[in-house]
Structures are given as structure tokens and as C-alpha cells.
Amino acid sequence: MDTFLGLDATLLARIQFGFTVSFHFIFPAISIGLASYLAVLNGLYLWTKDAAYRDVFNFWVKIFAIAFGMGVVSGIVMSYQFGTNWSVFSDLAGPVVGPLMAYEVLTAFFLEAGFLGIMLFGREKVGPGLHMFATAMVAVGTAISATWILSVNSWMQTPQGFGVNADGQFIPEDWWAIVFTPSFPYRLAHTLTAAYLTTAFIVGGVGGWQLLRGRVHNAAARRMFSMAMWMIVVTAPLQVMVGHEHGLNTLEHQPVKIAAMEGHFHSHEDGAPLILFGLPDQEAGEMRYELSIPHLSSVIFGLGWNGAMEGLDVVPDEEEPPVAVIFWSFRVMVGLGFLMVGAGLWGLVSRWRGNLYASPWLWRAMVAMGPSGLVAVIAGWITTEVGRQPYVVYNQLRTADAVSPLGASAVGWSLIAFIVIYFAVFGAGVLYILRLMHREPDLGEPDVDAEPGPTRAAGITPQQQFDRGRSAPAE
């Protein structure tokens, strides 16, 4: 068998897709949330004339510009990777998913990119009204983009509305059914809420960091922290509910995925237990060192105390997804979700007692949880994507049958190139973002485009200006 470092071409292509899509999704997860946040901040500033909103806007728009740029370039990679590495999938599923992705480009990507320049550079050139419009268009574009691509993903999870022609291609029969598959509304709500929650924790973490650095009297630092805590206390419980509904939907349409998430190797006729922890042994088809609460899984899924739930034993071994990955990634996501709810309540109690800006331990907790949304989002995607294996189009097309006819060494080398370059390039980007998060928000900072200085782009303050206190610019 053709292998590279002991891995076959299909596995290498899967690793490459998983690696590049995980890296990519970090940026949209931030930019979907931040774009809406920036639109809200800009709108509130124009409405209330409260300068703190504009100061928070100017602080985050620079971070947004970097994150958005990284999202664009890592996204172009995704749009070509279907063809380079999954050519059989592209040939067979292209007639159904291709048009949805083309609509994403036409309705979302152009909208975001077309108005981004005006949002970043154009406040002085076009005036506050059109600048607000451009900012709103960028935010709307990110949401439209998420809608189309989740429609594609949902069709691959719960396909319907298609036929199959003589060449084996999936042929669209009912576009309405294709766009609105059963899992789509749940996946869309869950993912958008996740993006907002992720952003709220990043903003809250940065706000907490600013307050810990003794910037309690900085109105922008207080404002961002307060807004993030409000957002979290609303969206975190909402996300738990949406996630639960999504789970019920998955039980209906992809019960095998639920069995893997729950770690149910065996079917339970009279009430399935909720396994809190254990070591899945897929070879033996057993959960080792299981710690569980009897009947609770059936109760959570609304099946009643003695509700029956099918386990992985109802499908042949070759139809089982890899259980350990799904079991653990699901627990990481859910565990973080409940921690998020706790953080939101902590913030609410703190606010109620009037000491939101005098609670160093809350600030520290928020700094620690700053990246929690990103971790939860990636864990969630791993759960759902690994959970539909061994299929790429659920129950229709196997992943192993969808891969390009490439040699293992070709895919192996491109994978190595992606790993090295992504870590170097995006690592540098994350470093720059962290530096921007670290600096104190400027109060009464002039509008991004009214700043003096010869060397500026994308709402960027020259090095020497934001590095006050450093003796020399980094150059």
C-alpha cells in the first residue's frame, strides 16, 4: 500500500483537511462575532455620542483587520481543497453543494471584502452614515457566509432532495429540501451562537486583562468588560439550550453519532446511563472504568426514565466512527459550556453587588477563559465531523471513496508544508493580535483614518505610537 511515514493517502488527506479547516475556522469564529460587535459599537457611538464606544471600536477594529485577513487567506485554501484532495467528492457532490458554495461567494464573500476597505479606512472619506452602512454590511456578510456553508455541511450530514445519475453524481431535485435539511436550522443556530459566545469570551478576557493591569479607570476597558459579561450571561445559557436541541435532532437523524458521543457501545432497552467519564475500548466494544449515572442519558434525550437507546452494537464494526475522539471532544465542549454559564452567572452576581470593577478573581477567571470559546468550537466541530465517519455524505458516500487519486507522498509533503507555514505565519499573526490586546485602549483616540503618520494601513497605528514606553520601534 502506498504510504508516507506509515500513513495512507486517504488518512493524510483527512489530516490535511482537518488541520487546515480547524485553523481556518478559528478566524471566522472570531470575525463573525467581532464584525457584529463592531457594528453594534459603531451604532451605539453614533446614537449616544458616548466616546467610550468609539474607543472600544478603535481598539477592536485593528484586531479584527488582522483576524479577517488571516480568515481570507486560509479560506481561499479551503475553496480549492475540495478539488485538490477530494476530487471524487467534488465530481459526485459538486452538482448539489457547488451551487450553495457559489452563492456563498456571490452573496457573502464579495459583500465582506467589498465593504471592508471602507469600514477600515473610509470613515473620513465617506462620512459616518455610509461608514456605518459599510460596517453593517461586513457584519451581515459574515452571517450570510456562515448560513451557506452550514447549509452545505448540513446537507452532507443529513442529505435529502437529491437523486443519483448514471455516473453516480448526486443530482439536485428539490433545492428547498437541499438548502433546508433537517439538521440545518439547529447547526446554524448552534454555530452562530458559538461565534458570538467565543467573541464575548475573547473580549471579556481582554477586558479582564486590562482591568488586572490597573486600567480600572480606563472607560474603554470597563466598557468592553461589562458588555462582554452581559453578552455571556445571555448567550451561554442560550447556547446550552440550542446545543441540547441540536443533540435531539442528531439523535433523530444520526443516532450512531449520538451513541459514539455518549459512549454507548451497547443498546439499552430500559433506560440508558449518562456516562460521565470512562476509557472507550473500541476493539473490545466496551467502556472501561465507566463512571455513570443510571437512566440519565435517556432522560436528557426526553425518552423518559426507561427510554430505550440504541448503541453502537446496532451497526457493523465498519460503520462505527472512531469513538474515543468523539467521546472526549464532546466532553471538552460540554464541560466548557457549563463553565461558561458559570462565568456568566459570576459576572451577574458581581454586577448585582456593584463590584464588577473590583473583582480581581473574576477578571483572572475571565482571562483564563478567554480562549475557551475557540477550544469549545473546535471540539464541537471535531465531534460532529468525526461523528459522521466513515461517510463524507452521510450514508451515501464513504470518505475513503471520495478522495483524490493522489500519491501518499504528494499529500504528505503538502501536509508538512501546510503545518510548517500555518504555524509560522498564523503564529506570527496571533502574536501581533496578542500585542494589540495587551496595550491600553486609547481614550479619545482620533478616528482611525484621521491619524497622522506616513506608514499606515488597515487602521493601523504606527509602531512608535502604540509602543509608547519602548525606547525604539521594533524595526
Binding site: I76, T84, S87, G94, L120, I171, G407, R456, E475
Partner: protein, 338 residues
């Protein structure tokens, strides 16, 4: 050639790819020209001249790829594996040059501004080279068996593909120099015009070389271009190339006429190359194996998208034009973009 839906899609995709070349050509060209502008202030100005629009420019490449996937999935599924190393190189090169727009202003520590200058320069050049070589690979013919690529893993590397790649690099440099001629004044404009003359000369040389080699790649090309009486019809393409070349040389040498004229004439050359490519390849999407009709998605797929594209593409062009209008005019040295 009846105008059925598949043909309409072929024209629409050709339009998208051409808009990509129009918009991202000069954008990549600026990176290719970076070595000729070593001064930091010149480089700042060059980059600032496209900073507000570069991601919109690259979105047309996504539309080209996405549109091919949607309207001609079989072609997408064959061409991309056949040119795998080129596509991966192009994507990674675009990563480098794209992040440079933001990172360049943030540089600190082990990655200095020079690192991102190099990333912008190298990324732009490699992306252009890979695009040209991909085109060359397609033009020289791709081996297909059943519904999959069946050629070797080094088929994309031939003297012809290298010639195509080099021609696109120089051609984009020409577009970049003409863009600078439009957006700058003074010393930097002088140098841009000097570079445009050289790049223009080499580009036309590249066009002649590729055109001379093409008829001998496939007998179909030979018959299309060099057999009487068809030659009378297709000869209009090389004749117009000659006319535009002389006009461009005149505009660049004497510097008379509006500053946008060289850019428009250079884009005219690209449009003619595009037309020539169409003459050669029609009705194939992958010569000599797969026709447009064979690769076409079912009518229901093409129609679903076509309805949207007809409405949305004009709107996109309108707000793209508006963004360019907002940032119109000459860049000034020392004043930054604003």
C-alpha cells in the same frame, strides 16, 4: 454555437477569471515589482494603494474556483489533482502575500518588516508563476481516464508551462507598473513607467513565444490557428495584439495622454490573450479530453446558480466600483494613504 446554459456558464466563468486578472493582476504585480523599489516609503505607498481593495480582488479567484466546482464539477475534479503541486504552491503563496498587508505594520521580534516584505514579494511572484503554469498545463493537455486524472505527477513541469508561468509573472509586473503610473507621481511614477516599458517588451515577447508554441501542442490548435480559410478570422487576434503593443509603447515612451491609458492598453493585451485562449480551447474545458458539455453540471444546478449570478454579479461590480471610487486619485509620498 448556440447560447445554451452551459455555454453561458462558460462565458460567465471566463468573465470571472478575467475580472480576477484585471483586479488581482496589478495587485500581485506590485509584489513582483517590490525588488525594484527598495525604499521603505515607496513600498509603503505601493502597498497602501491596494490595501483597501486587495481581499475583494482575491475573491474573484474564489469565484473562479467555486464557479468551476459548481458549474463544471468534473473539470474541477480533474484539473486540480492534475496541477496539485502548483495549486498548493499558489495557495500558500497567497497566504504569505495576504497576511503581509497587515503584518508588515506590526512586525516585531524574529519576523521583521523585511520578512513580510519578502513574503509579499515571494508570495506574489510564486502565485503568479503558479497561475501561469497551471494555465500552461491545461493548454498542453491533461490525460484523463474515466472521470479522473490519469497523467504523471510531473506533467505540469515542462518548458511550455515554465514559459507560460514566466509570461504571467512579467505580464502582472506590467499591470503593476501601469497601476503605479496611474496612482503615483514624481520619481516613483518615472520609475514605474521605465519598468512598464521593460515589462511590456518582455510580456509581448512572452505572448509571441506562447502563441508560436501553442499550435504545435495539439493538432486541433494547429487547425484552428493556421489552416486556410479559418486563419482569416482568427488572425484578428494577433493583428490587434500588434496594434495595442505599438499604442502601449507610444503611451509609455512619450508619456502623453491620460495616466490610465497604459493600464487600459495592458489590460487590452490580456483580454486578447484570453480571447486567443478561448479560440484554442473551445469547445473543450480540458483539452483534449473533456468538453464543456461533458463536464457540465446538470441543468438544475446551473440554472439555480445562474439566476442568482445574473442578479448578483452586476450588484457586486457596482459596489466594487464604488470602493475603488472612494479610494480614487493619486497617492502622495509622505502622506500615507489618507
Amino acid at each position: 454555437m448556440a447560447l445554451d446554459l452551459t455555454t453561458a456558464w462558460a462565458l460567465l466563468l471566463a468573465f470571472a477569471v478575467f475580472v480576477y486578472v484585471v483586479l488581482d493582476g496589478f495587485d500581485l504585480g506590485l509584489g513582483i515589482l517590490y525588488p525594484f523599489f527598495p525604499e521603505k516609503q515607496d513600498r509603503d505607498l505601493m502597498m497602501n494603494s491596494v490595501a483597501p481593495v486587495w481581499d475583494g480582488n482575491e475573491t474573484w479567484l474564489v469565484l473562479g474556483g467555486g464557479g468551476l466546482f459548481a458549474a463544471f464539477p468534473l473539470a474541477y475534479a480533474i484539473i486540480l489533482p492534475a496541477t496539485y503541486p502548483l495549486i498548493i504552491a499558489m495557495l500558500l503563496a497567497l497566504v504569505f502575500r495576504g497576511v503581509a498587508f497587515e503584518f508588515r505594520w506590526r512586525s516585531v521580534g524574529m519576523f521583521s518588516r523585511r520578512t513580510w516584505d519578502l513574503a509579499f514579494m515571494g508570495g506574489s511572484t510564486v502565485a503568479a508563476l503558479a497561475q501561469g503554469m497551471t494555465l500552461g498545463t491545461l493548454l498542453q493537455g491533461i490525460t484523463v481516464e474515466g472521470r479522473a486524472y490519469a497523467g504523471g505527477w510531473w506533467d505540469w513541469l515542462t518548458p511550455f508551462t515554465l514559459l507560460c508561468g514566466a509570461s504571467v509573472v512579467v505580464g502582472y509586473a506590467l499591470l503593476g507598473a501601469c497601476w503605479l503610473n496611474l496612482k503615483t507621481e514624481g520619481e516613483i511614477q518615472e520609475r514605474a513607467r521605465w519598468l512598464a516599458r521593460i515589462a511590456g517588451l518582455v510580456t509581448v515577447g512572452g505572448i509571441v513565444a506562447v502563441s508560436a508554441a501553442t499550435p504545435f501542442l495539439e493538432t486541433a490548435y494547429f487547425e484552428r490557428w493556421l489552416v486556410w480559410p479559418g486563419i482569416l478570422e482568427v488572425a484578428i487576434v494577433p493583428v490587434l495584439v500588434a496594434v495595442l503593443t505599438l499604442w502601449l509603447a507610444r503611451a509609455l515612451t512619450f508619456g502623453k495622454g491620460p495616466d490610465w491609458l497604459p493600464l487600459v492598453l495592458a489590460l487590452g493585451l490580456f483580454l486578447l490573450c484570453f480571447a486567443g485562449l478561448g479560440v484554442s480551447m473551445w469547445p473543450y474545458v480540458i483539452p483534449p479530453s473533456v468538453t464543456l458539455q461533458e463536464a457540465a453540471a446538470p441543468e438544475k444546478s446551473q440554472m439555480f446558480m445562474f439566476v442568482g449570478a445574473v442578479v448578483l454579479v452586476p450588484i457586486i461590480l457596482a459596489y466594487t466600483a464604488y470602493a475603488y471610487w472612494v479610494f480614487r486619485g493619486k497617492m502622495k509620498l509622505g502622506e500615507g494613504y489618507h
